[in-house]
Structure formats: structure tokens, C-alpha cells
Symmetry: C2
Subunit: 260 residues, 2 copies
């Protein structure tokens, strides 16, 4: 596969080297940002180009590793390209791409520039309108990770929303915990073992089964004490505490486990 990539953000920074090792020959990196664009081009041993520069005729695949709204915006301008166009977004439907051969290669992981993710452990979801492209994307992804699945646009969007809950929202709860403890020793550090244990426990069993805490036990006196403390010191956290507590209470409130 002879390809170019549009974009040089966090996702491109980690996914392109993995694709390169899996056999993709990158001919150029196209980016509005010359700094990250050149850096990624150097990493891949290829050239940096401006977004509007022409694509060499030998290229067969354009990877769009761009924000979702940018994928939508530039798609019409790509409607007549002869190459396959492949985006990497969870929430953009395949058919937003208007070209003849279109595909999606969605890695379900959170990417930050500084931290090297374990690419061998990233699930990939493939969708295409073309059997040849499907097979080559699946083969490519399989050389990076054993976790390769086909998923249509709806499933992919559900996966993305789930990832928002399990990763983005979870990280925000960590952030709020750290804020709560910022004035005290040992602060957020004290929560580290608990955070790891909680993640590992949910993955060993079903998270629904291993739920613990005052809301799970419906311990109303603790819950009202916690609310009072938040009201006094961190009132902006009270709506989140209240809503998540109610959601847990509702989920486990049934005659069978009233005594838990």
C-alpha cells in the first residue's frame, strides 16, 4: 500500500508508525501545521506537504487522521479522487466520504503525544464499501494487533460513546477527585492503588457485579454527609455526585437485593 496521511495530531503520531511497520509506504505527510507535520514526516522518513499540494499519481490510499468536523468538511473535495480514502474516526459514518472507494480504520484507544500506547493491544474496527479495501485494511490492522473487527457505522458510534463513558468521563472523575484532595496530604497519590484496583476488578468480572460504595449499599446517612461536605466545600461537584449516586441506586434497587 502506497499512502499519504492528512493530519499530524496525536492519533497520526502513533498510528502512522504502526502502519509503516505493518507495511504501508508513506509518500508524504499533509498537514496545516508545519511543525508537527514535518516532525511526523521525519519520523516516517518521508516528505512534508501543505494540505493543498497535489498527491503523487502512484499513491493508492489517502488516510484522513483529522478531527471529525474536518473530515466532513473536506470530504466533498475528495469525491473524485481515484485513490481509496480511509478515515480513522469513531463517530463519522462511512458514507460521509463521497469517493468511490472508501473505508474506516478506527482504533479504539486514547492517544496523547507524550505517551507511547501499546499498539499490539489496540482494538481496530474496519468498515468499507469495497471488498478489496476491506481485506487489505484488515490484513494491515492484523499486523499491528490481534484485535481486529468489522463494525458498521452505528456499532462504531456506540463504541465511541462507550469509550467516552469509560475513558473521557472516567478521566474527568479522576480529575475531580484530584481537585477534592488538592489541599491535603498525601493528595491524589493516595488514590493510585484504588484506581488501578478498580479498573482491574471491573475487567476480571463484570463491572455491574463488582459495584461497591454508599450508593450501591443505599447508605443514605453517608450519602447525605457527603452531599453536605460537597455543598460546603465544592458545590460545583454536587450535581455530579447526586446524579451518579441516583443512577447507581436506581440500577440496584430491586426487591432481590434490598438488604445489600
Amino acid at each position: 500500500m502506497k499512502a499519504v496521511v492528512y493530519g499530524s495530531g496525536n492519533l497520526a503520531w502513533h498510528l502512522c508508525p504502526a502502519l509503516y511497520k505493518a507495511g504501508v509506504a508513506f509518500q508524504a505527510v499533509y498537514s496545516r501545521n508545519p511543525n508537527t507535520g514535518k516532525e511526523l514526516a521525519d519520523l516516517l522518513g518521508t516528505d512534508y506537504r501543505q494540505p493543498n499540494d497535489p498527491v503523487h499519481p502512484s499513491v493508492d490510499t489517502l488516510f484522513l487522521m483529522l478531527p471529525d468536523d474536518v473530515v466532513r468538511k473536506i470530504s466533498p473535495s475528495l469525491s473524485n479522487v481515484p485513490q481509496a480514502v480511509v478515515h480513522t474516526s469513531g463517530s463519522v459514518p462511512l458514507d460521509v466520504l463521497e469517493c468511490r472507494k472508501r473505508g474506516v480504520l478506527y482504533p479504539l484507544q486514547t492517544f496523547s503525544r507524550e505517551l507511547q500506547p501499546d499498539m499490539h493491544n489496540v482494538p481496530f474496527f474496519v468498515e468499507t464499501n469495497d471488498i478489496g479495501l476491506r481485506d487489505s485494511l484488515k490484513a494491515l490492522a492484523s499486523r499491528i494487533s490481534p484485535l481486529v473487527y468489522e463494525a458498521n457505522s452505528l456499532t462504531r458510534k456506540l463504541l465511541h460513546v462507550s469509550a467516552v463513558f469509560s475513558s473521557n468521563f472516567v478521566n474527568h472523575l479522576y480529575t475531580l477527585s484530584a481537585e477534592l484532595l488538592k489541599d491535603d496530604n498525601p493528595g491524589f497519590n493516595a488514590l493510585r492503588p484504588l484506581i488501578i484496583e478498580t479498573a482491574q476488578k471491573a475487567l476480571m468480572d463484570s463491572p455491574k457485579k463488582v459495584q461497591t460504595g454508599p450508593a450501591r449499599r443505599n447508605d443514605l446517612s453517608i450519602i447525605s454527609e457527603h452531599k453536605l461536605l460537597l455543598q460546603e466545600r465544592y458545590p460545583q461537584l454536587l450535581p455530579i455526585y447526586t446524579l451518579l449516586t441516583e443512577s447507581i441506586q436506581t440500577m440496584y434497587q430491586n426487591p432481590d437485593n434490598n438488604e445489600l
Copy 2:
């Protein structure tokens, strides 16, 4: 230390053996539940007793490993005991105990019966009204884990609320993610690498700095698509999605990072 324990729940099940190995000689397990009570007594090589049975005069410490409301309820009945009384709760103030020598030994961890926690990695928080008791609880905890701190009742309550956010609420978000994916393949399994990566990343850096996702980028078109999907298929999750998204948007909305 010659001790007895009141309670035979998840916490007692894991903490008593650790205390035993750290040198506590348990004289009996007192519990309303004869099944778990006898099981724990067997594990500790000691006897099971009914809650109202007398305590042997040689015992110097009573550990209360009981639900918070039970600690509150039985405390008056212990006001005249000669022994030190030590509870293990995050949210019950020290002075709820009415006896002469009182203490708290709070392990900040989530305990389930089936899963063996790594006790060497559990932070312990100690509070007492007695220097001798303080020193012996700290010495004891130090033989279990290097993470031993003193914390007053307010700090302990803040730690507990933080733990509710970082553990109980986080686990509930995992549960909601699993619900979202329950009809699709590969389901919740696909989120495993992401969940571990998210926890590890937050602990390597500050969670506030590593926040990603549509709310962090203020990607309004993705957010409204996600809301639409939830409204159609899982309307009960919409309020949580909306509130946590707004909380992230508010936290990162300032002129300095408008372009992110």
C-alpha cells in the same frame, strides 16, 4: 495486641488476615452472620461469637469492621469499655466513638470477597485520641503497607468522597459502557485496553492534563450526534452524558486553550 473483631464482611475478610500477619492476636470474631463469621474465625484460627457475647478480659482492642450506620448505632453501648475501640470507616468521625481510647484505621481500597487485593499497596489513614494507640496502629499498618498516614476526620471524609468519584462512580461508568455495548460484538471486551490505558495514563501524569475526547476538544457536532444516539437508544444515559460533558467543557473553557 490482643484483639477481637466485630463484623465479617468484605473488609474484615481481607483486613483481618493482614492484621494477623502483622502481629494481631485475634481472640474471637463477633458477627450477626454465623456463616461468614465462622468462616472468618476459621481463617484466623480463632472462635466465632454472637455480637452480645462477652469479651475476654485479656483483650485490649476491639476492631469495628461494620457498616457506618452500625458503628454509629452501637457506639453508645461501648462507651464504658476499658479496651481501645478502633473503627475502619472513611466517613465516620473519630468522636462518634464514645469510649476512652478510640481510633480509626481506614484502608483506602475497594474490597470484594472474591478478589484478593494487594494489601502491600493499600494506603492506611490513622486517627486516634491517644498517643499510645496512634503509635501502635501506625506500627501495625506499617507492617502491612508502606503507605501509612495520619489524617483527621475531615481529611478522611474528603478521601472517602474522592474514592467514591475515582472508584465507585468510575466503576458505574464502566457498567454503563457495558450496557451500551451489550447487543454488539465484541461488546465490553473491546474497551478493556482503553480502560487500563486510561487509568495508567492518569497516574503517570495529572489526569487534568491528559484529558481527551469530544468535550475536551469542544467538538459540538460529535457531542450532539452522541446525544441523539443516546436519546434514541439509551435515553436514561442522556443526563449523565450531558452533565459530565458540560463539566469538562466548563473546566477547559478559557481563552488560553480555545483552539484545542
